[in-house]
């Protein structure tokens, strides 16, 4: 195994865990948690096209996810909400289109498995650079706008009256989510990226006593999930996405039952 690849993959996984959990928190509180799933499925189209025509499947995935994001945003603007129907349309539409493209050529079909289920050993230097850039993008945006997004989630009318631009904030959040998702599918796979983003936030909600606490717990849990998942992957040769997400689900169950038992104890 090439040590550089392992190192890069680990680093990317950690960066992804942090930015994924951060974006996940805001997707969850804005009630967009299914958005990540829909975008992940749609970005498969780009990944498949990339393999089919021989260009970078990562860039193909990013581009397709962005297209999906823009379509969803346009539909949402028309109907004033992400409806189940819109999300299902993008999700199923993307997956089926990707499968059709893949079935046209054997090599695409073979590599599609990696995008459906993820692979921790996908990373070269180019991917690492991209991961660092998106990481900084997420960090910068949230450092300056996380409070605006919080207020938009709790008191949208009040936020608007304070001059907070709804469209601007939501659009950037969706763009960032899109880019994080496109990376996520490389490591975790399209089927589980949504859970990878949202699970840390879900667990954070159970543990935190403030919004700042929620962000802290989500990132901590996200990192723990990624590290634990990667260890299982290396030593037991299991698929990374499945082990990372399964670790998260296990933590969630433990936390929720722990809280129930604690309440009964009181």
């Amino acid at each position: 195994m090439d040590l550089n690849v392992v190192q890069n993959s680990l680093l990317i996984a950690l960066l992804l865990a942090i930015e994924g959990s951060l974006v996940g928190v805001f997707l969850l509180v804005r009630r967009y948690s299914l958005l990540a799933d829909a975008l992940a499925h749609f970005s498969l189209v780009g990944a498949a096209l990339g393999v089919f025509f021989g260009f970078s499947s990562l860039l193909g995935g990013v581009f397709a996810a962005l297209t999906g994001g823009v379509i969803l945003e346009a539909l949402r603007y028309k109907e004033n909400a992400f409806t189940d129907a819109n999300l299902a349309l993008i999700s199923a539409g993307g997956l089926s289109l990707a499968l059709i493209i893949a079935s046209l050529r054997g090599e695409v079909w073979q590599s599609l498995g990696q995008y459906l289920f993820g692979s921790i050993l996908f990373a070269g230097e180019k991917e690492l650079i991209w991961a660092v850039i998106t990481f900084l993008g997420v960090l910068l945006f949230l450092m300056f706008y996380s409070r605006h997004l919080l207020l938009l989630s709790v008191d949208p009318a009040g936020a608007k009256s304070q001059g907070i631009k709804v469209r601007f904030n939501e659009f950037f959040l969706i763009i960032l989510a899109t880019i994080v998702v496109s990376f996520g599918i490389q490591a975790v796979g399209a089927l589980l990226t949504g859970a990878f983003l949202v699970l840390p936030a879900l667990i954070g909600i159970e543990l935190a006593r403030s919004f700042t606490g929620l962000i802290f717990w989500a990132v901590t849990v996200g990192l723990f999930m990624a590290v634990a998942g990667i260890i299982f992957t290396f030593f037991l040769n299991l698929p990374p996405g499945a082990t990372i997400v399964a670790t998260g689900v296990l933590i969630y169950i433990l936390v929720v039952s722990g809280k129930k038992l604690g309440k009964r104890g009181n």
Partner: protein, 227 residues
């Protein structure tokens, strides 16, 4: 200065919701906006905030508007403390890296004014209905509002929570502030405010509260028996 509303009309999908509303307020005015359901009370506030398009003129001069909508979320399923919400009231459209010392001081004042200082670390999801309302009003006050727009702030509250809220409003209300409050509780006319605007798409009455109360029977007659 003050607030001037001139020839204000609003239509939703071709239907008129507000027609030719005219009134003006000066500092020290506390206006109660009355009218039955669908009379356009909330629409009037939304137009002043700039949330909806309208024709006519609304001038708010240099006033800082604090707006609390009628619909506030019943349950907030993620952890946000009262303090975090109220601090967010200091935000403008601009990006913000961290809250300044002044922001924190204004937030503490807003928490004091709404009687929530000792509950600032509590989660919004654990507040009573009345406390949640007051937290949202504190959020509006934290923007250093001196023109406060409240849309039925007492709806759904029990008597004790109402009285606490009346106290908060009467404390906030000063010579240099303007309050517009939508209500459909006739009892509140006697407790709060000094001016009345009664609308049913058009303005039926605008003037001093005392004048409105003196002609109460005529006005209520209008409300109870349209056509």
């Amino acid at each position: 200065m003050g607030l001037i509303v001139k020839n204000l009309s609003v239509t939703y999908g071709g239907e008129p919701v507000l027609e030719d509303i005219n009134f003006s307020l000066k500092e020290g005015d506390f206006l109660l906006v009355l009218g039955k359901n669908g009379a356009g009370k909330s629409t009037l506030l939304k137009a002043i905030v700039g949330e909806i398009p309208y024709s006519g003129m609304i001038k708010t001069f240099n006033h800082k508007i604090g707006y609390v909508a009628q619909k506030i979320p019943g349950t907030i399923r993620f952890p946000v403390t009262v303090e975090e919400l109220v601090l967010a009231g200091t935000l403008k459209g601009k990006p913000k890296l961290s809250y300044s010392k002044e922001d924190r001081e204004v937030a503490v004042e807003a928490l004091k004014a709404t009687n929530l200082l000792n509950k600032r670390k509590k989660l919004l999801g654990n507040l009573s209905g009345g406390e949640l309302r007051r937290a949202f009003i504190a959020r509006a006050l934290a923007g250093k509002a001196d023109l406060l727009l409240l849309d039925e702030p007492t709806s759904g509250l029990d008597q004790m929570s109402r009285e606490e809220l009346y106290q908060v409003l009467n404390t906030f209300f000063r010579e240099d502030t303007i309050i517009l409050m939508v209500t459909h509780d006739p009892k509140e006319i006697k407790i709060l405010g000094n001016k009345v605007l009664h609308i049913d798409k058009k303005a039926l009455y605008f003037g001093d509260k005392d004048g409105y109360l003196a002609g109460e029977e005529r006005e209520l007659g209008f409300e109870c028996c349209p056509e």
